[in-house]
Subunit: 259 residues, 2 copies
Amino acid sequence: MRILVCNDDGIESNGIYALVQSLKEIGDVTVVAPLKEQSAVGHAITMHIPLRVTEFYKDGEFFGHAVTGTPADCVKIGIRNIMKETPDLVVSGINHGSNTAINIIYSGTVSAAREAAIMDVPSMAVSVTSHTAKDFRFAGKISKMLSQKIADHGLPVGTLLNVNVPDVPEEKISGIIITKQGKSKWDDIYEERKDPHGKNYYWLTGNLMEVDNEIEIDQFAVKNNYVSVSPIHFDLTDYETLNKMKSWKVEELLNGKSH
Amino acid sequence: MRILVCNDDGIESNGIYALVQSLKEIGDVTVVAPLKEQSAVGHAITMHIPLRVTEFYKDGEFFGHAVTGTPADCVKIGIRNIMKETPDLVVSGINHGSNTAINIIYSGTVSAAREAAIMDVPSMAVSVTSHTAKDFRFAGKISKMLSQKIADHGLPVGTLLNVNVPDVPEEKISGIIITKQGKSKWDDIYEERKDPHGKNYYWLTGNLMEVDNEIEIDQFAVKNNYVSVSPIHFDLTDYETLNKMKSWKVEELLNGKSH
């Protein structure tokens, strides 16, 4: 199995290192990851400036290709230019921090996996629920097991898995469960401060307002120490509203011009 | 009607100016937009550096608030800090270039409107199909008419409209139609070049591979000179795959630990 590994915390992070160590046991791993941290970049891509690619060594050994771009850039250039053959699987992570509920929208980790799905390559994003996580070995093991599941069952074109692993000792893990995206979101607060020159600046902070309370929802599952596995896609169409909008009669807006 | 206007091309662009001129006829408009162009930033948010907000004047008159951040940042800080009351509507645009099919994923314009939907504020993204568009008055008129439609009918919580207007003279417009997101996507090519110092760099280019061929699909609708109106949302769960994944028996991965 040819596996492309990417992340958003940067090629030097502990999470990607643990992921690579684990996936090496089941496949031929190529790392293409951002040179610098790219958290909360969403699905940004770089078009207006060029990208640089350099070789990154860890403990004197070649580890992977570092890209001066976003997670989605890494997957694009990894598949198009760096790998000689299209990978069988793309795994993004292991992210330092949850990607559940609304965080999926902002996540660079998820966007890398989504970019692979756009390119018709099966993919998975893996996150550990704490920003201060130190031990990624259990999440690495989960990544390996789920990679094997993807190889066995396949994924529909355009679908990827979003996996979140609670940052607790393995013996405290309740189990593993298929979930949907939660509705918890942030109560953003911009702290207004003054710089040393007396000018205002604003710094984003806030708390996740937890509204999810079913075990089959990603945010509640990880809170209850379950490994959460959500199938997600990138067809954003709201089909229910699409049907209801027939009553809007938008075709009448342009004096009867209509399909 | 209190309307917050944002975009991704930056506060100085022609598209946002035309939008404001048109929406002023039906409401009280507040502009909060990026100081600099932010195309293809996706749903990035700024957490690790502070934001600055400055007043932007056009022809000697106050036009709006310029933010040193992304489109989603502008909507967040606009609603949380700049506007005294939550707006009734957020309109993002008018973007210079299509946001149809896969482009919705990469779009800063759409992400601004989506951020509003996340904050439970009805919203709409508006784009004109050409990067070289000069006349945004018709798209401004469409924005005004659809804003009125949203005021009349409401939108479900979490749903926004993605509107694309063909860049053709108004008399060539075929009509206006409710659509779904297309499947057309890019055949990314990274051109490999050498800089003056002999080092390689890569520049993203490519063509949109058009696979959509039904008039009820955004990309095909605009190609046939229809104004395209797509309801989209941010629940990324793939419910069909979720049901099918029961056969994966992931709960067996952790030695029988399960819900």
